[in-house]
Amino acid sequence: MSTEEENKLDKAFKNGLEDPVNEPAFREADWGAMEQMLDQGKKRSGIIYLLPIISGIAAVLLIFLGYFFFKTGETKPEKKNQVAATQSAKSEAIDKAKNNTGTNGEPARQVADSGKQQTKSAQDAATGLAQTSRPESGKTFFPLSSGKVRRSTGTSRPAVNKEQQAIANDIAKNTGNGKVSPNIADSKSDQKTDVLANNNKATTNADKTVPGNAGDKTALSTVDGKADQKADVLANNTTKAGDKTATAPSDGKTSLGTVNDKEGQKTIAATPTKQTTKPAISRNPGSRPIFALGIIASSDFNGVNSAFQQTKIGGNFGATFSVTFKKWTISTGAQYDIKPYLTNFDNYHASYKFPTNPTSVQADCRMLDIPLNVNYQVYHQRANSITIGTGLSSYFMLREDYQFNYGNGNSAYGGVAGTGPQHYTVINRNRNILSVLNIDATYTHQINSKFGVTVQPYTKVPLSDVGASQVRLQSTGVAFGINWNINASSKPK
């Protein structure tokens, strides 16, 4: 066809169709249908348009609840650990105090060492770093001492400050060791100095001691060689430092300068390490939710309208996320589904009018399946458990390929088969929100506390027509998966 002829044709249709001589007459029936649409529109906006919002809220709620449970599940045992560690450390401290207080001069040295330690631990407690950035031993030990240390050193400091210089000089005189006295004299604000001063007061000048002072109490009790059953954390630190320096020269005055803070810290830090591991095991795994990630792969039979004589086998794979609390499990995830199926043309719905109706339609659909399921545990023995569950799936159609089979339908009219479309592809167009009912039974075998394998027979029943072809696509199959319990206890339940 020449360009001139094309233009002539176009012009003929443009002129003829653009201005119809007699416009189509108004039909009341069309307005009736319009009114119905307008009335339905109100209902649609109330229900259908709210579905994505509702599902969004549900997802947010799930995440929020999951986060909430996760946080509570993690923090509660921490507190228990601290309390348990505190108690055991206290008793140990008392025991050690009994053993060590008999050595003349030792307590003074011990207090000197613990003074620095206490100050540090008090700072740690105040900044909240003790639990997070410190080594594991620090978690339990520093909070132990911080509270009481603050009180005891707080009371001792004002009472002793006035006499610090004088007493420091006393120490220097008594020891005759030039290395020690400057150290003590320089650290006027240090608690070590305070306590040492108190100690020296007790040993050299008993008249100057101040009754009721916590530092004095410690010093006095150790000098007297009596183990005070009510010894506070200060005593605890004292005894630990004392352990470390037990082999030092018996002359406490001369050994004062040789006490190494680092060594003291090491000794103190190493002691509670053993204590912290014990309470962790005693946590009850059943009383908190378990979060699990999983991968899943399945194979299923797909058919339309329960016509399983025309089934085709499909495959799916994806990732899951679940929250288990006692016997209930809520799970969601994302699955890539490959669903081929074959159906009679009667089940295929399209606005397109086929010149010749195909006999059957062969489809290959790729979709994203977002399930939201709830399972209940019906059997549980040792590492094996069985749950049954139900839920809804949303299909996000990624690609739909339809192949139209005409068979020999036209052969009677000339022997040419398939004068209509042969295939049809739709990409990323259809979404069916919560339109498929999931029913499943899941067998789980827990390999260890962290990992388990699952076998899950399932069926997916359509609640509405899905895809461009608007078919009732049903699937039945078996899924296999591996679960990883993110926050599992050390032992399987």
Partner: protein, 211 residues
């Protein structure tokens, strides 16, 4: 309809007044149906598509810019709704080969002017994909690039579909012309092949109340 009356109707539609909606619907029924008929297979489908278009008009009328012509806005909506309605079929791959058809369309287009009904019937006989491209290119005046974007197809596909549509239309015109020549009737395709009226038809003819 005057501008003032139109604005009053639009105001009523914004307030969801059903009476105003019906008046606007009636006033632009013929215009809208004329567009939808060009894209549809038949009048029933055209009515369905048109109603979807009016539904959009009524639900989004608050977005209408009153400084622009209402008819142009309405026409654009009707075209878009028509495209959307048949979008699922626009990418249909046809096994049908047009080589045979091209051979048939040898010959010149007749100069005789075809009436609206004949032209509409011919366009409606085209497959959806061809019809949509022909409408958009020949009647609406879009370019192949614009059509490609609107229909989410390649501009080459648009050209190909337009070519095939023209071939088919030419074939239809030639067939209609040859039939008209043979029957010696004045109105192109508009002829009747009935040569006898049976007794039942005569009875119906005289008993119908509206005659």
């Amino acid at each position: 309809m005057g501008e003032e009356e139109l604005h009053q109707l639009i105001g009523g539609c914004i307030r969801k007044d059903r009476g105003s909606q019906k008046m606007l619907y009636k006033a632009f029924y013929g215009f809208s149906m004329g567009i939808c008929l060009r894209y549809a297979n038949n009048r029933e489908e055209a009515a369905e598509v048109m109603n979807q278009g009016f539904f959009k008009v009524f639900t989004r009328i608050d977005t209408y810019d009153t400084t622009r012509p209402f008819k142009a806005w309405l026409g654009k909506i009707m075209t878009n709704v028509s495209i959307d309605y048949y979008r699922a079929n626009l990418k249909m791959a046809y096994a049908e080969d047009l080589d045979k058809a091209e051979n048939i369309t040898d010959g010149e287009l007749p100069d005789r002017k075809l009436n609206y009904e004949d032209l509409l019937a011919m366009v409606q006989r085209l497959p959806n994909a061809y019809r949509t491209v022909f409408n958009l290119y020949a009647i609406e005046g879009y370019t192949h690039e614009e059509i490609g974007e609107m229909l989410d197809i390649a501009s080459g596909t648009s050209k190909s579909n337009l070519h095939k549509a023209r071939q088919k239309l030419k074939q239809m015109i030639l067939e209609a012309d040859s039939v008209a020549d043979n029957s010696k009737y004045n109105r192109g395709m508009d002829y009747s092949s009935s040569v006898a009226i049976n007794r039942v038809d005569i009875h119906n003819l005289f008993t119908r109340k509206n005659i």
